[in-house]
Symmetry: C2
Subunit: 337 residues, 2 copies
């Protein structure tokens, strides 16, 4: 089969690789229908994270089950499935608490920007659709592999609920999905912080009640003006940089909550936040916990998170899929084998 392999900064190649096979009786092999490039893949593409050796890359996928191990009981060959960016057994004590990203027996994949993928812990990871989904739903289903679940995780972590005010820092695919999550979870004010017209449009389509284009102190002031002068109940930080974290801290009210899902590249002034009674929660998303509910919303066409994809290419053009996101010509690139 062919798959994407990162060789170093700016160098993702479409290469022949061995076909994945069933190794453990709990494995499945999935024939990819769609995969995509994640903002977090760009850390290596941009040379910020190291690439010690050529490595298959990608962690988002949906597709059709091709084979399953003897122990797999909940999915079968021919099923259309989606799974989160980490596999999980869905049975360990941590999974039973709903914290699947921290499953005692979970982990990542050997590259999902590929024609085929080996899925460990298939029963605890994959969720099948009742039938083959309409093709126009594929992008939205694919977002459940990471960005939509991650935006949802930011909102849940920050205790978004009916009537809350929410500000979202970051207008990448995750930030936009966080806007959608906040609106779905009943927030009465949903402020998307974005300077890009195309992304503002998606945010509004996802349920943002307000757009704030300012950044820094001006951005925090604008958010406070929309929230009785005190800041938002919940701020969803979907970038991870030091400046994004500072922006989030500037936008949250005393006693409020930060939901963090941007990969951390900076510290937090926890003792200042203590005196302000500001909560902090977040991390890698518990996709498997959220997948059934979110898949239902997608299949019912209640939500359309697939709007975050503004570029679709063949898997063979994976290099351009990365370049377009790196150069911010695309919010998020979808690839199909």
């Amino acid at each position: 089969m062919f798959a994407a392999v990162i060789h170093g900064p700016g160098d993702v190649r479409y290469e022949e690789r061995p076909d994945p096979v069933i190794v453990e009786p709990t494995d499945a092999v999935v024939r990819t229908v769609a995969a995509c490039v994640c903002g977090s893949d760009l850390w290596r593409y941009r040379g910020i994270a190291p690439v010690p050796r050529p490595t298959p890359i990608g962690h988002e996928y949906c597709g059709v089950v091709e084979a399953v191990g003897d122990a797999v009981t909940t999915v079968k060959p021919g099923d259309f499935v989606v799974g989160g960016f980490l596999h999980s057994d869905n049975t360990c004590p941590v999974c039973r608490k709903g914290a699947h990203a921290n499953c005692l027996h979970g982990g990542g994949y050997a590259g999902c920007q590929a024609e085929k993928i080996r899925i460990p812990n298939a029963d605890g990871t994959l969720v099948a659709t009742p039938s083959m989904p309409d093709d126009d739903l594929i992008p939205s289903i694919l977002t459940l592999s990471d960005v939509m679940c991650t935006g949802w995780h930011a909102a849940v972590s920050a205790r978004v609920g009916p009537g809350t005010s929410v500000a979202v820092v970051g207008d990448g695919a995750v930030g936009l999905c966080a806007v959608l999550a906040a609106a779905q979870l009943g927030a009465s004010t949903v402020i998307a912080m974005s300077r890009h017209e195309e992304r503002q449009k998606v945010a509004l389509a996802f349920g943002a009640s307000h757009i704030v284009a300012e950044r820094g102190d001006a951005g925090s002031t604008a958010v406070r003006e929309l929230t009785e002068g005190i800041g938002a109940d919940c701020v969803l930080e979907c970038v991870g940089t030091e400046s994004a974290r500072a922006q989030a801290i500037g936008c949250v009210r005393d006693g409020g909550n930060l939901g963090l899902v941007g990969l951390p590249h900076g510290d937090l002034p926890v003792n200042d936040l203590f005196w302000r009674n500001v909560g902090i929660k977040g991390g890698p998303a518990h996709c498997r916990a959220y997948l059934p509910q979110l898949l239902e919303l997608v299949l019912a066409r209640t939500i359309n998170p697939g709007l975050v994809f503004d570029l679709e290419l063949p898997l063979a053009a994976i290099g351009e899929a990365y370049a377009a996101m790196d150069q911010r010509r695309a919010i998020k690139s979808l690839v199909r084998p």
Copy 2:
């Protein structure tokens, strides 16, 4: 009137001071029925926090209203009242969110270990009992001024709810009240970490299901053994030192929550906690938000947090009240004028 004044490390004196008077129309003056010494008062008594000049001290009280300003409508002279360790207006946007400790117009008092106390924002701070309470209820009512509300705040901040597992780090008055809070909020496992037999007894009376006497790694291991091997859903950190915070981190499960109420003397590894999806929340307690509910539980004799007081002295013996706590001869000292 007479009041406690701290002059420096180890030096708290009983001194004559001017009688407090109504300054603002929103003020009340309360004749103290009982006050007490807080673990946080010991930071100055022990020379860890500075005492730049002789300063009236104490922030916990209950008593009888003696006078009110023209704008006060909810309490009147003769009412028995209790208020939190910070005053609050209960009307600003932050208070309306329930975050009274961060009230836009709140603050502290000019010393509550005193015969009389001026209470700013009387309407937004004081809660009156329906009638004069029985004398044996005074200690429990007094805990609502700080330690019981602070233990409750730790539990609420850590999302303690029905069926959760909870570990409490710290067996001072706040830690013991946190045990009581966790039990009241429906936790199914409540682990009190304590090496002191007297304090263990109070913890058990307050609803602890288990006592862990070990500390450090042995303590974390013991907590994990009681929680399916993964750690507690919620850990309430009621000390504030670096080692107590490390203990809390060692006892919490991935995806769980830390409730912090110990005054912070150390940092937190927020990025490690990010990967573990562990939430952090806490700070000064929102007493006014919790007071009505907790006062009802005390008056109905459902809870008896006054058990944390194991020494009662006249206010004139305030020096000994401090010394006994400093030398750990007492968990908490109550003083009466």
